[in-house]
Subunit: 201 residues, 2 copies
């Protein structure tokens, strides 16, 4: 019953994603999204109560995809080699999702959701922080035998900050991260998390 939808949530979110990737969140105005989609602005409001909700959901989906994969592969990592695999998989995600990577790595949450999360998403948002945090903590305990703050900080740097910092340049340039980056990040990982002086034979 009722007229069949011509523009679904998926389509709308997709149009917004393309705009964000190409010209940043500020460019994703309701009229720009509508135009990108060939729809009137009114139709968008049949699917999303507000622009904020639309962008918030878009952001959330991308973060969940990225972080979900990373947390999963980190949960499987039982040692440094496993961690190296997790980093490689993160790069794999970026290579496989260049558009989403631009949204995620080139912009901040605040540019999508200024202030607090809309009520409809607080629960999903609340699940995000602990997921990554506990994945890291467990990994530290398991692979390094210690989940104290110093170890945690090391792991955060080697598994998150350095990889993200390293890959951002390529995402920004619209290029695929080169294979060499995998190697650089693995070296970094071993230098930071590896046994202190294993090199001495």
């Amino acid at each position: 019953m009722g007229r069949p939808p011509k523009f679904g949530r998926r389509d709308i979110a997709g149009a917004a994603l393309r705009l964000v990737a190409a010209r940043g969140p500020a460019a994703a105005t309701m009229s720009a999204i509508a135009q990108e989609l060939g729809a009137p602005t009114g139709s968008i409001y049949h699917r999303f109560a507000s622009r904020e909700l639309l962008l918030a959901e878009l952001w959330m989906e991308v973060v969940e995809s990225f972080q979900g994969e990373l947390a999963t592969s980190l949960a499987e990592a039982r040692d440094i080699d496993g961690a190296a695999r997790a980093v490689r998989r993160m790069l794999g995600w970026v290579r496989a999702h260049p558009i989403e990577a631009r949204l995620l790595l080139l912009h901040r949450r605040e540019d999508f959701v200024p202030g607090d999360w809309p009520d409809a998403l607080v629960e999903r948002a609340a699940a995000l922080e602990p997921q990554m945090g506990s994945a890291l903590r467990r990994f530290c305990k398991r692979a390094l035998g210690d989940a104290g703050e110093p170890s945690l900080a090391r792991a955060r740097f080697a598994l998150l900050d350095a990889p993200i910092g390293g890959v951002k340049r390529y995402v920004q340039a619209g290029k695929q991260p080169p294979p060499m980056l995998d190697e650089l990040l693995e070296r970094t990982l071993r230098a930071v998390l590896g046994p202190a002086q294993r090199g001495a034979r």
Copy 2:
């Protein structure tokens, strides 16, 4: 002659900087800046022709400060130890300029200057890219004996991307980067740029 100024360019830029650091570039509206300063909006236009010009100049100044210091200390680096010193100095800059660091590291140029640079600043802007680029290239030649793209990519990662990625977390949190970060970044540097298997000994 003429009425003495009550609000100078310096004051205005300072107010804008505080707003950007605290709530992002979008929050630095002309009225917000005026309010932060206790001035009417009109006065701002006596100093800056437009909001775009104001923000562009602010951004430019911070980038010049940051990059100038980095390029200088990189120019002095004659080997890996020198590079490590340069990285430490970069962290020093961040520690000494926490507000400016927030502007620089937490936001993108596009959030300040959408599109091309205003005419008044194209020259200054044009000088920025080559400065860093040639500093890196010279360093590679001098310290690594090779300025090919692979070496350059390594140096960019070890000297720019990894440090920036690592420090951003603390800047975001409004905290000083801990001393441990210096150590992590130095390890990274040596792992990425150092002689391949020096460890065997």
